[in-house]
Amino acid sequence: MSNLKPGGQSGRKKVQVSMVICEAEERRHRSGVNALQVDPVLDRLYSAGRDSIVRVYEHERYLQSMEHHTDWVNDIVLCCGGRNLISASSDTTVKVWNAHKGFCMSTLRTHKDYVKALAYAKDREQVASAGLDKSIYLWDVNTLTALTASNNTVTTSSLSGNKESIYSLAMNPPGTIIVCGSTERALRLWDPRTCAKVCKLKGHTDNVKALVVSRDGSHCISGSSDGTIRVWNLGIQRCIQTIRVHTDSVWALLATENFQYVISGGRDKKVIMTELKNQDNSVVVCVEDAPVIKMCFTADNQAVWVSTSESHIRCWKLPTERHFRGELSMPQNPISTIQGGAAIKQAVVLNDKRHIITKDSDNNVAIFDVLKARKIEDLGIVNFQEEIKNRFKMVYVPNWFNVDLKTGMLTIHLGQDEVDCFAAWVSARDAGLKDCPEPDQKVNYGKLLLQALLEHWRMDTDAETKPYFSVPRHIPLIFSEVGGRTLYRVTVGDTGGDTETALLNETVPSWVTTNIEDNCSGKFIKVQFFLQPHSSIPSHLLKQDRLKKPDRLVANDFIQCRKVAEHVVEKLLGEGTAGSPDVTLSSNGTTVDQIELTCNDQVLDPAMDLRTVKHFIWKSSADLTLCYKLLNSK
């Protein structure tokens, strides 16, 4: 069967440019933490954030950030004795990091959808990755860490047979068995050495989100959104135990080395430790203030780090025999806490289409300036809706960017699809350009921002195209397929580097390069409108018969009403009907100030532009109709 698709669906998708408005150093997680790893040798904790950043803490103090992902980091594993870190992200990539120095060594783009889970076989230095594209890939860590710019091919084996989106993955340290949990509600097992299917285990009634395999590969524990924990004997391929200690989905699991206890966390915000031999014997380790996403043993195995869908990471003491026997009660407070920051939860673009008002998870309200890519005002805890109302201005500027809050920070997307980033033209005065020679000159917001973002990329730009604005050098600049995968991420300050310049030359889409070089003046947005004389205007003053339908006029959408009034004076009034001797009343008799324009019976401010009239007064998508009349000059 031929598989011809109609139309020119050429392979390359449209590319959009995005920037993240963030601080130079984001020391705190902005949103939930999806994964944790401990390096016992250096006493380090690695945490993978939904804000796309992997943070490193040494002796429980912030050490550094590992920034290169552009979306949630879903899982991390520390390998090679703590030298390397591998991370999986919803930007569809898997990245290999130098864990000690904190830089990204290489990026694997094999997955086609969010990469949700990683598994690590320590003895064989093998890592598996799996995600929503339903596939599992096996990677040899030593090959991955040896990748360089020139030696950049890697072979991978994939495990076949899985049919649904994978949310969890586990491998035993010797790498003899790999298990995946998916929306299929069953576990699927393979032998990673041969990539041969082992079996499929049915029993859960919902997605399986957490898995642990025993060292010898004989047992497996699974946690599911159906609220149960199941213990499986892999030898007989049966579920041997169902543990119901949680009141909601189980999202995180840990097992003690000898499989004596299971520690589970979930949507009910609890972490519970249960004795496997006697499942009635369970102790609540802690109750977090948000659903528990991941847990990790501390170096001494006496406590667990717990991460939730909020940004704090807390360390809780594990119960001992005496706690299980009820002789001691569990401490109410964590041993230590790594403070998280607040995520932006709401963002409203103000009418000027330049400022964004935001509210974060701590209810703090702030104002951001998109053009400058920075926060300009902290308003503290105030009424958000009230503040939006107070800042309402009757100005209409077309949308020119999209806002995204998935990382808990403001991400601004510039593209040419539904929202054209070159749609907004404003006068230099309105844009607040101080050193602009002509305040009435029109500038384009999208172009200004793109110029600023790429300021350092092409240093050869002459003074004339020098951007009026500069954005901070630390701002990440992201090129990605629209609604899809990330192509390239670089900070604004780094764009001048040699490698970066070369990569940018390949990546920057042509719609960006052509537009920031030209004046893109042909792209003004037009408004069509009619001008109608008011009945009070004497017919002899009209050039055109009032009964005749007026001509449709076209103007740039930012034209002010004053200009329209000028047009009325010059073109529509004055000479009177043919043959009229009353020449004295012609154009020189009427001034622009005598013209009053109305729309829907509302008098228009001469400084108001046509798009604002259309949006706030005309309120219809049909062609605008303006009415003019003469005011008495007395």
Binding site: S165, Y167, T183, S225, D404, L405, G408, S620, S621, T625
Partner: protein
Amino acid sequence: MMAIKLDGVNAYHTCLLKKMTILEDDETPVRNKLSLSKTYIESKNFTKETGQVKRKQFNEHSFPNKKLVNYTERRMMLNGYRTDHHRNSNDVINECPVAPLANMGNTCFLNSVIYTLRFAPTFLHNLHHLIDDLAKVNSRLTQNKIKSSSLGRSAGLISGPSSRSTSSKDLLSLGSVNDVSKSKVQIVTEKFHELFMTLHNLEENRKKEPNDAYQPVAFLQAVREANYIFEGNHQQDAHELLVYLLDNIRETCDLLAQQIQHYPEIMVQNEMPVPASNTKIWDMKRRWIKSQKKKDKTKDAISEEQSNGTCVTDTEDASSVDGSSDNGKKKLGYNFVAEDFEGITLRRTKCLECESVTERKEPFYDIPVPISLLTEEDFDKNPCEIYRRACVTSEKLCDSNKYLCEKCKRYNEASREVSFEKLPNIMVLQLKRFTTTAAGVQKVNTYMPTPLEMTCFCDSCCQTTDNLHRYQLCCVIMHLGGTLASGHYIAYVRATDQFDDYADCPRDVPKGSLSASSSEKSLNILKYFKSKGVDAKNGVPISKNSAINGVRLCKSKNCCGIKMNRNIVENVVNNYMRRNGGEVWNGDYQQDMWLECDDENVRPVTSQEFQDLLGSKQNSTSTPYLLFYTKMSDVVLDE
């Protein structure tokens, strides 16, 4: 097929891709997202004068493949007539058990819907009272206007613009402007009622002066005037018309309710209407400013008019037989369309990341049933199961169709389930026989079983093993022919004159009557009918009097009710029985009878014949298209 309502607009578009007839109100004047296949929308006009968006027009290009009808088909279905019948039309009319409707050229879509709604249980009766209420309110408003001109505003007729979002502001402003002219919406509803009155009179006088088949010209005219879609003399989609009519009547009810709300002074004490339970959803969607007011006022609402001189005890006992939502039935402005035809879908979406669930409820008039190829296995299955599976669905939103989770602020995978919180008393199943392909709209002739009884698949029924509700087939509109544009429609209706629909009507209480004892008595009779279950539903009235054994029939039966010529029906049954060697029908009528309503030919068919018609046939283009099921109450009163 789908009809979408825009704010302040009656815009009905056919959208073959959409799932359900959802009636939506939204603030946005034009919803581009819902704009449909281009052929259907030729123009959208904004008229500033009225501040309304004109109705979207369907123009002649709507059915692009009209010309593609093949020759044989054309011979068969020319102009929507079936040319192959052998009966002389004059005889036919005299033989008709009910007054027949003439085809006025491509109007079988109209006739089939009229026949269907006429025989849809409770419809005629409720429509009558709506018209009654309209008249009542109108006359009072006029009186009131004379009495108290000091109000400073003229109390208009029910004359809002033909928009559903008639806010109080609109009413105020338009009350004075449109004082005299009624809204088109209201006219259509009134003409509809007049049509039923005419049919009733024709049936009443059939012995004296045999008539030709009636041409519902006035009604069609009103429909066309109110909605451009139906202009032009070509075949239309019966479903489209059905949804339009129901919505039109619902809107009339709403206008009436608003009028009452707006001029509470015209209401006699204790006469305030009660909003029917599920109109609240519409209210919420519409963000009616009034809905709050409405709730407050209805607290002390008691039934019945006081002008009749007697205060009547709340006849809760009688109405509670049918369930809880009966309170509003006796009130002015009772929205029966909402009560009888509207169901509520429940859409649950669960983000697979944070696992939070969002629920969205949407009212609907009909359930689209995708036509699926049935496997051998399916044929053995209960056909109800096929429908349940087609209606109650679940899907996974993934890949490029991820779900934007409000909590996670991002696109995640999600699971989505569509179920039914409430199924209406009269459930309309629309078999999705028309699909849009590259070659235009094409008909799918695949066989789907048409069960005479259907198990309910609403949420509460799905959750328990014993079914709380059952549905019984009451009407079927068949589509004959290969395409939407060229085919022919025939309606099949269960032969009944809806005796018990009119029994003990709370809206029709004669002066000074209905003491406690008599109401009790009538309740017993009602119990009798109910206990007979299915049979009582289409039971033959024991007598034609308006009161049998104390059961009073609502007067409206003599205004616009069906008056079936029973002899014709009985003859047919007897003939059939004789032919098949059965006993002669003893008048006890254990067998359901159906009427085949094919424009001017109305012919009784036995249940057996009917089922044969519905059965699976090879390559048949005569296919059931719209199925009407009526909810059966299984509450049998044994005492």
